[in-house]
Subunit: 475 residues, 3 copies
């Protein structure tokens, strides 16, 4: 069965249902959306890449090091030490090390079978870099050289790829105290006609239990031009920084805490807890209560300034404390846990859920809440959208489960459009392509089962790619 | 792609699997059950409609206003204010308002794509009212007029529709203090040969934390002809009212609390808590403990009088407190949450689960409990049935998930048969049709995969429609 | 539709997808694995059967009495009293009773439709015993006689069946204090060339809340040749008994508690709690804390001695207390409940999850944790494997859900291979056959949807049967 250098070929019908009739319908629907521009309202590509437009270093630091999807499997299944992959991002890495890391990816290729990593890499290798052999120990160097060679060419610099990938809008994720200088420079560059917008992510500033919270608070005040000595001034600083982000093109704020609860406190109680927190004397319970109050107030500000609020709770960050100590955050050791939305969001939604200006996009890694909580909430509340598959749930079967679970209770028009949420720039087209293929497969099935007419399905297919991300993220 | 007035046509194979061979088997199985009578052991159609048999007012108050499935999506996706739809039920509504509300439904038709609402309405419009154009802004008035016209005719009065829908038995949901006068009148009417039975729903009377609980208790005592001044007398009043319902044809009692727990208290403790509750001085914890005790005692009474107990916990009722303040209950803001059964039901089931006379049908909106808890419980305990898909879980994909999750551990013969649970009278045939189509699709797949023979599947298909609801609900 | 004695025939393509193209691929893949030897790393077949190789008594005590899958459905759906089935195992049963019990199975055959019990029995009846009529009231005696007759023949004695079933390795489940005499005798028998290994299952010894815990502790000490008067000596006794098991061929230890938590205590605290426990004075909270500490220490010992640790928490054992009082454990009244792994396992995994010698296989009956917790953990940690479908999750649809949920995040190579976990010896080939058929169906779909090439899928199909159980269980 083994051929030493099997070819890498991408079948045009990949991910489509096997049934010939369903496949024909799917192919027709996919034809309508395949070449539409990419809208990416949430992700982690560094804005400097596009602002500076400097060539990428090498295949490993471009494709492998920043991608924790890939790292974790090489570590977990292949037994590779993370340090061998250039982790953490930004570590100095010699040309030899880079080549060796890439070889580890190719040698352990079988571990990615059936995972989205395989699909993404095969698409990138084939479509972006012209690779025509399957990754393996035998072909690792050949593929590495081919990509390394491409990266020296002008058409593989960040802006050229942005255009080639047909990206219409791309959001980054930013610290509330950031001056957004790279965003401003890029936007002011007359030779640049893309759209890269910042996203306001205040998580750390809303966790009074953190050891560095007083310091963060001082930094926030400095950025806002306010001395923060009370919760009222903290709230005002948040308002100003949100406005600063909005003035720089931001359309949304992003929030991830251990739960989704948001409960307003009496002003007096909030001030007392805030004072304790600033003094470093707040109890764990007090810190949690204050955090939930502050998240509620982010919703209040969202109803005021109209920035879309995105929420994705329910993760044990840096689960492997030893790896965290060695490499820091974001190396693949984030593990989801169950999360509750129905009761947690009631205070926020009963107050703002139907307000004119308020929009909330809820993400989850806990698939059980799709049909039980999120779709019912999105079906009822005007402002609520179900975040389409993203982190961990952006692969074929998971996207299909998402549509099957959500559509019956919320239809298509209260879902957000696909979110790539990635640091791996070159995987963006492949990731969106997966979503388009699976959504069309789902729709193709509905048509084949006479649950939608073909013209209805065609309209939906296009809407999911074009109008839904714009509607959900006010883009 | 857009045609201004596309036709409304119902494909005979709708909802069937696309694979030609599976579809052929499915079609054959469906042919055996398509025209069988409807048994509806749990729902919310007002008995007065059938008792009085007066013509329906207009299309909106018949089809739209009472259907919170539809309201919630028009509100959540279409941004329609609930007051524009005639909510709450019984609000005065002018002919112009009724027409406008119906137009909102048709204009926002795309939001229902892929939801069961689309299937139900298309079936009702087409099969009940003879509509042949797809709902849209252009066709709204035309469809409205056609239905309004039909409603003036004798064959569209409630009893005529009951017969045309081929309903064999229909259960309503009733207050324990009700005199069931309309039920009695209908049953005594010699011109009526249908079967409409009441259902005993004591939820409010079992929640001592309610502000109106003392009042409810007094009302219960009055109806039972007992002065309720102790838990013992409350229990006796419940026994008598259950018997009254049974004498009026009831076959089941219906229970929905925030959790499924039922734990008997020592008689002395129950009496103490009951006295506190009557005095309006019970703590929240005490109220919960007393409620769980009273639910346990409903099971005790069920084992005594043989009324089937149905349980459907796990909902945040009236989640949107603002809408609740404006419109009252049942306007679409009920949001499910996770619920636990395995431990919660142990006291009840270890006591009554295998008793001769006891039957419990458990419903859920938390699909995770199907394979983990409900099917194992129903597979083991003689008296336990898994409630077939109902509220929120009565759509195509959810029904398929139900069968796929439950069948392996409980087979087909510990499931209840389809429950429409609806206030939307004209949607009853369409709702049961969905269940029949999906069950036959599931069975068709089993036959095609050689997991059942065709004759076994045929017997099951008929049993799910005929014998299972009768067995589970002692009809 | 009813034929009095329909034939029993097994279609060669059973459980394969209906689509002709997918089926062709599936058939090709299945051809590669159908006849490969069975590796069974976890189960409950009594070693005495193979050590003594005495003929089986009768069809009922061989096939029916020990199989709680079957018992529970006959009880729950058929209303059969468990005592009529010979429960508990080892009860004296007359020839007449045995025949009557078997008749109950056949008479109630329809209740097993769509369940794995039907598949297993049909396979056993047909392939092992040559039965050619479908079980029913009419055929019960005929089938009984046919099997009873077979059991008198040498080729139906335990060792002969072991060989005929093509079993390569079989694990039993054993008490830590056992002298493993039957294992030793079997291994020493020159006429035996199979492989039966014990499994160390210390659950009872790790539950200080048990009434018999002091007694169990004494028994453990006696077996280990240590006086246990401190936690340190308990720990040392565990170390010795594990080594004793390892010396007798054991490759794994097996653990099932109500939750998955494992949290090390300070040595002083552990000693104090241990002293309280020995004195019978430990509080429920203390007992739980001590149990979690002792489970953590089992992981510590696993990292030392290399025995694979398997974990399957989350069951209400003996849910029906009345049946438990009458018949004892393991009669079908075990009901799963929800369980949490992400946070529970953090102390263990951050300490040992990537250690050289440590391997953990995690099982669940709570399917929600597949994609949310187990696959992310297995994808990241070197030592973690997702236990493939087993108890309750070993049927067609559940196995398909398992692969669909896990593969995207952990691939195929961090799953354990199929676990039959059975006491029903003759069902072992059928159970493994289900897994092989469903895995090949899953792979066939991936190939048909161009998500894997045929040669990749073929390699995976074989690996799942051959190398994964060996890798996960160090066999």
């Amino acid at each position: 069965m083994s051929i030493s250098k099997p070819p890498l070929a991408l079948h045009p019908d990949r991910l489509f249902p096997a049934d010939p009739k369903v496949r024909d319908i799917t192919r027709e629907l996919y034809g309508l959306v395949r070449d539409l521009p990419i809208i990416s309202p949430h992700g982690h590509v560094p804005v400097e890449w596009l602002a500076n437009d400097t060539p990428f270093d090498n295949p490993t630091t471009l494709l492998l090091t920043p991608d924790h999807y890939t790292n974790r499997m090489l570590h977990g299944a292949g037994g590779v030490d993370l340090s061998e992959l250039g982790v953490p991002v930004g570590s100095p890495i010699s040309p030899d090390q880079a080549r060796r890391a890439f070889r580890l990816l190719c040698e352990n290729w079988r571990y990615f079978r059936g995972t989205p990593v395989q699909f993404w890499f095969e698409s990138e290798f084939h479509d972006v870099f012209g690779v025509r052999v399957r990754p393996s120990a035998e072909t690792a160097d050949e593929i590495y050289d081919q990509i390394a060679d491409a990266l020296t060419k002008p058409e593989f610099r960040p802006r050229a790829l942005y255009r080639r990938f047909n990206i219409e809008a791309l959001a980054t994720t930013d610290d509330p105290a950031s001056d957004l200088a790279d965003h401003a420079a890029l936007a002011a560059d007359p030779s640049w006609d893309g759209r890269v917008v910042p996203t306001f992510r205040p998580d750390a500033y809303l966790e009074p239990a953190r050891a560095d919270w007083a310091e963060l608070t001082a930094r926030l005040g400095e950025a806002a031009g306010i001395e923060i000595d009370s919760y009222a001034s903290h709230f005002e600083a948040m308002r100003r920084r949100r406005q600063y982000f909005k003035d720089h093109g931001a359309v949304s704020t992003d929030h991830s805490h251990s739960d989704a609860r948001c409960e307003p406190l009496e002003p007096k109680v909030a001030e007392e807890l805030f004072a304790e927190a600033l003094a470093g004397k707040i109890s764990p319970e007090g810190a949690t209560a204050l955090r939930r109050h502050m998240v509620f107030d982010q919703a209040k500000l969202a109803a005021e300034d109209g920035l879309v609020m995105t929420l994705h709770p329910g993760v044990v960050r840096n689960h492997d404390l030893e790896a965290f100590a060695r490499f820091g955050a974001d190396v693949g050791g984030d593990i989801p846990h169950a999360v509750e939305f129905s009761r947690a969001l009631q205070p926020m939604l009963t107050e703002f859920g139907n307000a004119e200006n308020f929009q909330l996009v809820v993400f989850t890694m806990d698939e059980t809440v799709y049909s039980r909580e999120l779709a019912p909430l999105a079906g009822y509340y005007r402002g609520v959208y179900v975040g389409a598959p993203w982190w961990f749930i952006d692969e074929t079967d998971a996207i299909m489960r998402f549509r099957r679970s959500v559509t019956g209770y919320a239809g298509f028009y209260k879902t957000s459009g696909f979110i790539d949420d990635t640091r791996a720039f070159c995987s963006i087209p492949a990731r969106h392509d997966v979503a388009r293929r699976v959504d069309c497969s789902f729709l193709g099935n509905l048509v084949a089962e006479h649950r939608l007419t073909l013209d209805e399905a065609a309209e939906v297919a296009v809407d999911l790619v074009v109008s839904q991300p714009k509607r959900a993220f006010k883009l």
